[in-house]
Amino acid sequence: MRPILMKGHERPLTFLKYNRDGDLLFSCAKDHNPTVWFADNGERLGTYRGHNGAVWCCDVSKDSMRLITGSADQTAKLWNVQTGQQLFSFNFDSPARAVDLAVGDKLVVITTDPFMELPSAIHVKRIARDPEDQTGESVLVLKGPQGRINRAVWGPLNKTIISAGEDAVIRIWDSETGKLLKESGEDVGHKKTITSLTKSADGSHFLTGSLDKSAKLWDIRTLTLIKTYVTERPVNAVAMSPLLDHVVLGGGQDASSVTTTDHRAGKFEAKFFDKILQEEIGGVKGHFGPINALAFNPDGKSFSSGGEDGYVRLHHFDPDYFNIKI
């Protein structure tokens, strides 16, 4: 395959997200402008200008009309996808990191980093149907985890919130009461910072990637460990194919040590694993730095990766990919 290279960001990529139809790709980077691209040919549709810091995460509503972004400028912003107009800004006292819209797009979970003696927190906010009525009030604030919370997503039926972060523990919270329901055990859980978390297409299980050089597949209700995928490098990003039983892990060595080694030694590949057999299927090379973000097109026929090198690489699979046997 010949990937499409998109050089819209001047700083490392942080997050990639497809909309539900799979025709738009949203990219967040440490430069201040989240960008939207056409997912088929990689053409840039627009940028969302207004943030004043690195943008860590984004989510798009099911109807592809609203975009929410979390940024290090201590805000999470709501955007009109079509025009790039800022609709609302949720202000926090510390950098916002993960954002995730609930099913129905009426609620959003936003995590904030520990900052100036403030502990990290998970905020649940209501999204008004009309942006005029939007308020910044939190429905719920969860505190407790140590360190950054790198990802927080909604569980089945919006009843739970799943969070993971620097303390390497996956937690399931009750989204109504804020009670901590489950924690990943020390024996099965990750050993180091969890960098990424992604739900399966049907929402029945999720995959976490960690700096302990592994990725783990969990049941979303019971938090039982299903599978473990082991690589040679810290995992920065994970993705799951909605079409085949494949998982993709992206990573590479620390950005600080990249210049000291040959790029071939850096393992800046997106590694494909068989989801069930936990065996490596193959690797897709190309980035000149660690992969920070991965996303699968909802049709499963293409995926994109964002790297520390500032490039988004959009890969449309060759037909033989779909017949791979291991």
């Binding site: 990937p3 499409i4 025709d23 088929d40 897709v284």
Partner: protein, 298 residues
């Protein structure tokens, strides 16, 4: 100033002074050129763009660019997605100049690199399952052909290389030189006539079997000096028992010994004793190597 003249190349109606033409760098001359033409894209996605411009010598040149637009994804788009295709650009994308080339198709063909060739799967876990410290998943299957050790070293690096019997092609050559059917027992790579293959029916083989019995007592002597001739070899081996044949390979062109030969004993035991005694024996400043001519199975 130069006189106004007619304009042969452009045929434009307005009067243009030659002097003026030469002074500006041709940048303002674009209006003299025929307009850009775009043909296609046709059903094969082939698009032709015909442009005209001046090169540095001031000559008008026609540039035809033919491009094929490949359909990258033939995904079925929803109505909303089709609508979104025509959304106007916003943010920084509005002022995007054509030369920015933010989106490029990789010039490099990227393949999904398999950790091992498809189909080699059966072998791989076996190698990894061995008591092999290097046998991580995807490790190469490293088997030494000399000593049979797995995952330790390649054949060429084998520490036991000198100890192991040499079975490579070297054996075959004298066998052919002798004109016998000895090739049966040697290396797998050589061609073996069907009649001499292991599975061939035994009826017509009695003759060759006779020969083979002789061959079985054949001893190969290597590292002979060039001066060694057959009588010398006979003298050397006769003390061990009755010798039926002595042969020294001689280069047909130069007439010089090729440094190896064969001795056939009548009795197998004699041959074995000769091997035991003479292998490593210093003969004419060289250390002899004496071994069975055909690699033995037992």
């Amino acid at each position: 100033m130069a006189k106004p003249g007619s304009e042969p190349t452009t045929g434009q109606p307005q009067k243009i002074r030659w002097g003026e033409l030469e002074e500006d760098d041709g940048e303002d001359l674009d209006f003299l050129l025929p307009p850009k033409q775009v043909i296609g894209p046709d059903e094969n996605g082939i698009k032709k763009v015909i442009e005209y411009r001046f090169n540095e010598d001031g000559n008008k040149i026609k540039i035809t660019t033919t491009t094929r637009t490949r359909k990258l994804a033939n995904a079925r788009l929803s109505k909303r997605a089709v609508e979104r295709r025509s959304w106007p650009k916003f943010g920084d994308a509005v002022h995007e100049d054509v030369g920015a080339r933010l989106t490029m198709v990789s010039t490099e063909e990227i393949v999904l690199e398999r950790p091992r060739a498809p189909g080699s799967k059966q072998e791989e876990p076996k190698a990894a399952g061995d008591a092999n410290p290097f046998g991580k998943g995807g490790a190469v299957l490293m088997v030494c052909r000399t000593c049979g050790k797995k995952g330790d070293h390649w054949t060429s690096r084998c520490p036991y290389k000198d100890l192991a019997p040499q079975t490579e092609g070297f054996v075959d050559k004298p066998a052919i030189a002798e004109g016998t059917g000895a090739a049966t027992g040697t290396g797998k790579s050589t061609y073996v006539p069907p009649s001499q293959r292991a599975g061939a029916s035994g009826s017509e083989r009695s003759g060759t079997d006779m020969r083979r019995r002789n061959d079985e007592n054949s001893v190969r002597v290597t590292n002979l000096s060039e001066d060694t001739r057959e009588p010398d070899l006979l003298e050397l081996f006769r003390p061990f028992g009755a010798v039926s044949r002595v042969y020294v390979a001689v280069d047909q062109k130069t007439g010089i010994s090729r440094g190896f030969g064969f001795v056939n004993f009548v009795n197998r035991e004699d041959a074995q004793r000769a091997i035991n005694k003479l292998n490593g024996y210093g003969y004419d400043n060289l250390i002899l190597r004496v071994e069975w001519a055909t690699p033995r199975t037992n």
